[in-house]
């Protein structure tokens, strides 16, 4: 693994086939991201991980690493972009952090704090998204969906069930489940499914275990997401040590 690219002035080694995001995380460099998850094929929809290569921009999670690239990520221009994208996601759905079971464990909320999103920025859209409480063990609160497709990918690629899919187009795009009734109770989802673990926000919730840990003591209440995201990523043994 001799090839390297430059990320904000640091030299990042990469293996053939790695994307910029994969190589950066493996070497201990954080690039903000939401729809990327180290265990699934990247698809690049949230665009939070957008980086700059000269005058050109690209999503780092899908961009193949190449030797000699000079990439900028932690610059005000891109952080301002990320702030706006987070504001857009907040405005698109119905996010009531104070009453949300995922508060403190939510990636969107954590990104908001870390990127210093202090205002709503946009007029909220208040979409009408009814809950699905049909399943005896699981609640779906679509209000919080950010359309990252992680549950779609987990259920399809890992669980082999395709319980989730996206329907509609444009601003009406929404999450659906795999049943004629449109209800979760009529799917073959199980509590042990990978799809149950991956929602970065508070859509897929286990019933009767809410608020088991008080707000204030949760994951991102301890340390910001920029410090913790590296813990989830597979690290290369030869990679630079995390400072």
């Amino acid at each position: 693994m001799n090839d390297t690219f430059q990320l904000d002035g640091a030299s990042v080694p990469f293996a053939p086939g790695q994307t910029v995001m994969q190589a950066a995380l493996a070497a201990g460099h954080y690039i903000p991201h939401l729809c990327y998850h180290p265990e699934f094929k990247p698809h690049g929809s949230c665009k939070l991980c957008t980086v700059k290569i000269g005058n050109h921009t690209a999503a780092s999670c899908t961009m193949p690493a190449e030797a000699g690239l000079e990439i900028e990520s932690d610059i005000e221009e891109l952080n301002a972009l990320r702030r706006t994208l987070v504001q857009m996601l907040f405005a698109e759905g119905n996010h009531f952090c104070p009453s949300c079971e995922k508060s403190g464990n939510c990636v969107l909320q954590a990104l908001g704090y870390d990127l210093e999103v202090h205002t709503a920025g946009f007029r909220h859209m208040y979409p009408d998204r009814p809950l699905d409480a049909s399943h005896p063990e699981i609640l779906l609160d679509f209000n919080r969906c950010v359309l990252c497709e992680l549950c779609v990918r987990a259920s399809g690629e890992v669980d082999g069930k395709s319980v989730f899919a996206l329907a509609g187009r444009g601003i009406t795009k929404h999450l659906i489940v795999n049943s004629a009734s449109g209800l979760l109770k009529d799917t073959n989802i199980a509590l042990t499914d990978k799809a149950m673990e991956v929602c970065p926000v508070g859509v897929i919730l286990k019933k009767r275990v809410g608020f088991s840990k008080p707000i204030g003591e949760r994951r991102y209440d301890q340390r910001p997401i920029s410090a913790q995201a590296l813990d989830d990523a597979p690290r290369t043994p030869t990679g630079a040590k995390h400072e």
Partner: protein, 600 residues
């Protein structure tokens, strides 16, 4: 529209059988079921999914992506008014209002008796003979109050579409100026014979030498594309023709497919020879559904003449055939990788690139994908030779270009020019007077004002896919931009955050300004959204969605400023507007039913 469940099942089985129960044909299957039954019922989705052995959610996911597929019951007659700005300029909004009144139905809803629904749709490609509409997918042109009224009567009497006056469905070519392409005297097979004389590798060389560039707007050198596809690893290769002419204001591909289809197929066939492809696809936009049967007849004729099929023109190793795939109402499918996804029976979402279609296209196999006009030009270039072809047009834009002229001019239609023609010359030829602005290459293109009419069409200056919409000095350029912004919001595929949310926010902001609540803060907001859309969108749709606003702001800022309040900030929430529903329900519209929120 039979209620007999048994016969429905049988019919569904026939459709599935025609497509070999192939999940890759999902969109074609859904489209045919839509055509047969007027909507795709939940039960039909369940059965299709189980027959194709795919998750039900996937079938629903695809069905809900395309505008012309309905997963809820719709009217027996589905009326869609084409909503391009050129249709509006010809009075489409008033026509639609009257038709809704005549048939007692609200826009976007189904009438109580299930007879009819009336709504708008993105440009149907009839801008030179608008206002236009689609009724159950069939194009109707040259709408007038009288024609709309007659259509209302036919619907009320439940007259089958087949018995409607044929003149309603007449679509004219309106060719106003011919050149190299429209004046060609080639007989079917001529260019192909010339190509066979050259040999596969030399076709690529000849196309490279001709300087031919893609006519879909981006202008990528066709020869390089074919060379990359020819050199790509893999035995199975494809040629795909992009006939998803969705850019509002463009209709030249419709004319080529109506009157020059042999040349299109000829170009595809010699491309297949050049790259080594065995199968071709024509991706035809759903709005041009009426062209399907004529095109299939032409394909059959070419098979009969041995210009398609096995051992074409007696060449032992030259097998190639073309299938037609219909779209179902999605502008995004004009983007090449979204088109390929759609061709594979999926949602039309643009792929991540690299890899590019030349190496990983249809079914992840090497694919040469070009615009309708590009294939025609390629056939001409091969027939006349690279040197002769290169002499036409300009250095970096060789050959000729078809321009679709519409809007404020007495002679809208198709004009062919060598590249390098000035905007002023086109305006003169179409008889435009008092022109305020021209929108070049559709909403995603460029809006230019009077001082720039000396600019030239070509890749050096004004690249264009062909749309040329003329606006005279009676037009409000703010409303033009607002129409385009609505278009982008409607057509965003929704894959990436900036485009999905940003185009809707842009629409809200433009509507706020239109309603008289805009402030200078909102204009700043537009510039901020533009930055986000341009730097982070997944594909060209998002990256260009702000262009109409930015270009009109640059040239026609007073059209915006006259609408602004002098305040720095004004809430978008309209108190009086919030009472609209209550007013409608109570049938009241007196002053007491209004809140006066205006400051005096």
């Amino acid at each position: 529209m039979s209620d007999n469940a048994g016969s429905n099942t049988a019919h569904l089985e026939t459709i599935l059988g025609c497509h070999d129960h192939d999940p890759g044909k999902l969109l074609q299957i859904l489209r045919e079921i839509q055509e047969q039954y007027g909507h795709i019922s939940p039960d039909a989705i369940t059965r299709i999914a189980s027959q194709l052995a795919i998750p039900r959610a996937r079938a629903e996911s695809v069905a809900s992506f395309y505008s012309f597929l309905h997963i809820k019951p719709d009217g027996a007659y589905r009326v869609l008014f084409s909503d391009n700005i050129t249709d509006r300029m010809l009075g489409s909004e008033e026509l639609m209002r009257r038709m809704c009144q005549q048939l007692w139905v609200e826009p976007g809803k189904v009438s109580e008796d299930g007879l009819v629904s009336i709504n708008t749709t993105s440009c149907t490609g009839m801008c030179d003979q608008g206002p236009a509409m689609l009724v159950n997918g069939r194009a109707i042109t040259r709408l007038t109050h009288q024609r709309v009224q007659e259509i209302g009567h036919l619907i009320r009497n439940r007259t089958p579409l087949a018995d409607w006056p044929a003149d309603f469905f007449r679509v004219d070519d309106n060719i106003r100026r011919k050149g190299l392409l429209l004046d060609n005297k080639l007989a079917p097979g001529d260019a192909l014979r010339a190509a066979l004389t050259l040999g596969a590798a030399n076709i690529v060389e000849a196309i490279k030498a001709s300087g031919l560039r893609g006519r879909g707007g981006a202008g990528f050198p066709t020869g390089l594309k074919w060379e990359a596809c020819r050199n790509a690893a893999g035995i199975t290769k494809h040629v795909v023709c992009n006939a998803d002419e969705g850019e509002p204001g463009t209709f030249k591909d419709r004319v080529l497919l109506t009157s020059y289809a042999d040349l299109v197929f000829e170009g595809m066939t010699l491309a297949a020879l050049a790259v080594g492809a065995q199968q071709g696809y024509l991706y035809l936009r759903g709005e041009y559904r009426y062209l399907l049967e004529p095109l299939q007849a032409i394909l059959q004729r070419r098979r009969d003449k041995n210009l398609l099929g096995e051992k074409i023109l007696g060449q032992p190793e030259f097998d190639f055939d073309i299938a037609i795939h219909l779209g179902a109402g999605a502008y995004i499918c004009g983007e090449e990788s979204a088109l390929i996804e759609s061709l594979e029976g999926k949602r039309g979402v643009p792929r991540n690139r690299p890899p590019f279609p030349v190496t990983h296209g249809y079914m992840q196999q090497p694919t040469a994908l070009d615009n309708v006009e590009t294939f025609c030009q390629a056939a001409l270039a091969i027939q006349m030779g690279a040197e002769k072809y290169k002499a036409i047009g300009t250095t970096k834009s060789t050959g000729s270009k078809l321009i679709s002229v519409s809007g404020d001019c007495p002679r809208p239609g198709i004009y062919e020019y060598p590249f390098g023609v000035s905007v002023r010359d086109v305006l003169q030829d179409c008889g435009a007077a008092n022109t305020r602005a021209v929108q070049i290459s559709g909403p995603s293109g460029i809006c230019i004002a009077e001082g720039e009419f000396g600019r030239k069409l070509g890749f050096e200056d004004l690249p264009t896919a062909g749309a040329f919409m003329v606006f005279d000095d009676s037009r409000d350029m703010f409303e033009v931009a607002r129409n385009f912004v609505h278009f982008f919001a409607h057509e965003s595929c929704g894959f990436c955050t900036p485009c999905r949310v940003g185009t809707s926010m842009l629409k809200q902001t433009m509507d706020k300004i239109a309603a008289g609540h805009g402030t200078s803060h909102d204009l700043n907001e537009v510039e901020n959204l533009d930055r986000v859309l341009q730097t982070s969108s997944h594909c060209g749709l998002g990256r260009t969605a702000c262009n109409p606003v930015l270009h009109t702001l640059k040239h026609f800022r007073p059209a915006y400023e006259n609408r602004l309040k002098s305040l720095d900030f004004e809430p978008a929430f309209d108190l009086d507007g919030a009472l609209a529903r209550a007013r409608q329900m109570t049938g009241r519209d007196d002053t007491g039913a209004h809140l006066n929120t205006e400051e005096t």
